[in-house]
């Protein structure tokens, strides 16, 4: 029955239509999260006072559920796309920031010394040693961020805006249509997993290949 509803959703075009809106929102929100998150994480990893100022706040914000951002977003942006994108963005950004920051901070000082001995310093040191060394950790952050951004999206779509997959869930609930609810949850989960497999697994494997770590069989 659930699978039937699943197919029905696609045939009626409702899934595709709302996926289009949802994916656009998550695309924008998540991209912003990556940009800002990595930027902030790098700043925190490199500059001590930024780290001291921001890390406590970040942890505080992270302990807030995604739903807790809804009132703020709606009052600030109004009940519109921006509010949804903001919630997606903030949900994903914090975990990306924290992972980036720890990746940068835990680059082995030995490696940095080695580079300094070779006469490499400044931006070149950052670009060619610190950043590549932090990449595995940044990718973990991005992967987690991807999952978190879906949570943010669905929350925001249920509570804020009238379109998207979260809204289908909401409507199905109002019609007391359990099969449709489950089918839609299945849809959300599978999209998230498919993207994770297509993009992040490959990214991770790419890094592993680049570091010469091959799977033992």
């Amino acid at each position: 029955m659930v699978l039937g509803k699943f197919a029905e959703g696609f045939i009626s075009g409702e899934y595709l239509l709302s996926l289009k809106t949802s994916l656009l929102r998550i695309g924008i929100g998540y991209s912003l999260a990556i940009l800002l998150g990595i930027f902030l994480g790098v700043a925190m990893g490199l500059v001590k006072f930024i780290d001291e100022g921001v890390s406590g706040i970040l942890l505080g914000l992270q302990s807030m559920g995604h739903a807790a951002w809804v009132p703020f977003a709606v009052l600030f942006f109004g009940e519109n796309e921006l509010a949804v994108i903001f919630i997606v963005q903030i949900s994903a950004m914090i975990v990306i920031t924290m992972n980036t920051e720890s990746g940068i901070k835990f680059v082995s000082p030995q490696l940095i010394n080695q580079a300094r001995i070779s006469g490499i310093k400044g931006i070149s040191l950052f670009r060619e040693v610190i950043l590549p060394a932090a990449v595995p950790s940044i990718i973990t952050g991005m992967r987690l961020g991807w999952a978190f951004s879906w949570r943010g999206l669905v929350t925001a779509e249920i509570l804020v805006s009238g379109l998207g997959v979260g809204h289908i869930l909401m409507r199905a609930k109002e019609q007391k249509d359990m099969a449709y609810v489950l089918a839609t949850m299945l849809l959300i989960a599978s999209i998230s997993i498919i993207v994770d497999n297509l993009i992040f697994k490959n990214l991770e494997n790419g890094v592993r290949r680049r570091w010469g770590i091959t799977k033992q069989s």
Binding site: S108, Q110, L111, N113, Q114, A115, R116, I117, S118, G119, I120, E128, V129, P132, A133, V135, V207, R210, W211, G212, I213
Partner: protein
């Protein structure tokens, strides 16, 4: 010219124990092409000396000068080979060596040739496209040595580079190092805690005291290279130096174990049947 170390002192401050002097008034001079070993018990400031010479640590007092100019920051002129190979894991062996040559004003194709020729010298010609993860500890350390040599430094600082390598590889590397330095005639400051290694490699050997590190005495070793660790003359020398070092170790043990040490020494904690007559 060469390397000149003058009145070097350094202490570290730790919250729980206060000021710990690690180096005290160390002075010596190396001529170009000399292979000097610094030998001492662990914690005597050998590595600190090397890090100061490499420009990674600032001394409290005194200075290290190479060819008349004093050290203030790291530079490709003074390359350190660390205890661990510190290769960049995302680069291949060849890329690691090339990366070290990055700031050298040479043509790119020449850099490639230099890198490969030095990797061949340490017998890694077949592994230039391997990643560090795929290599054994000894091979990684050989990459680090090739990298350091390729940089053509004025002086090479080696910080117990072979202490993590297995015995077989170490003996082989001792031999290779001697061959390589016979060819390249580099000035080397080699820090080690192994008497065997020091006696095998050094032209001049500085024996350090326990903390704070001071030069106890200098030993010139004139035998021609390459030497073998098992050479009877070297073993004789090792024995002499070991006896002196043992006293230094005792000093450290006393400091660390305090009252326990006295008990051990007077035989309370050592069963009598273990005593092979060394105290007679």
């Amino acid at each position: 010219m060469g390397l000149k170390v003058e009145n070097l002192s350094k202490s570290f401050w730790r919250k729980d124990v206060g000021n710990i002097p690690v180096l005290e008034d160390v002075s010596f001079e190396l001529k170009d092409g000399e292979f000097a070993c610094v030998l001492g018990p662990s914690g005597c400031g050998k590595s600190t000396l090397l890090n100061i010479a490499g420009g990674l640590v600032k001394p409290d007092k005194g200075s290290v000068c190479v060819d008349g100019s004093c050290v203030s920051e790291p530079s490709p002129e003074r390359v350190i080979i660390f205890q661990e190979p510190t290769l960049f894991p995302w680069m291949t062996v060849l890329e690691n060596v090339l990366f070290a040559l990055k700031t050298k004003p040479i043509k790119k194709s020449d850099k490639q040739d230099i890198a490969i020729s030095f990797l061949r010298k340490v017998h890694l010609g077949k592994f230039i496209n391997a990643h560090p993860h795929e290599l054994s500890a000894g091979m990684k350390q050989r990459v680090a040595i090739a990298r350091a040599l390729a940089m053509e430094p004025k002086i090479l600082l080696m910080d117990e580079p072979l202490s993590l390598v297995d015995d077989q590889t170490r003996f082989m590397l001792h031999y290779e190092i001697q061959q390589i330095f016979k060819e390249t005639k580099k000035t080397v400051l080699f820090v080690t805690s192994s008497v065997e290694e020091a006696v095998c490699l050094a032209d001049r050997l500085f024996v350090f005291s326990a903390r704070p590190g001071k030069i106890l005495f200098e030993q010139k070793i004139g035998f021609s290279h390459p030497r073998r660790e098992t050479d009877p003359q070297l073993v004789f020398l090792q024995d002499n130096i070991s006896t002196i070092l043992e006293k230094e170790f005792e000093k450290i043990a006393k400091e660390e174990m305090d009252i326990e040490y006295v008990l051990t020494k007077s035989g309370v904690l050592v069963p009598f049947d273990r005593n092979l007559g060394s105290n007679i």
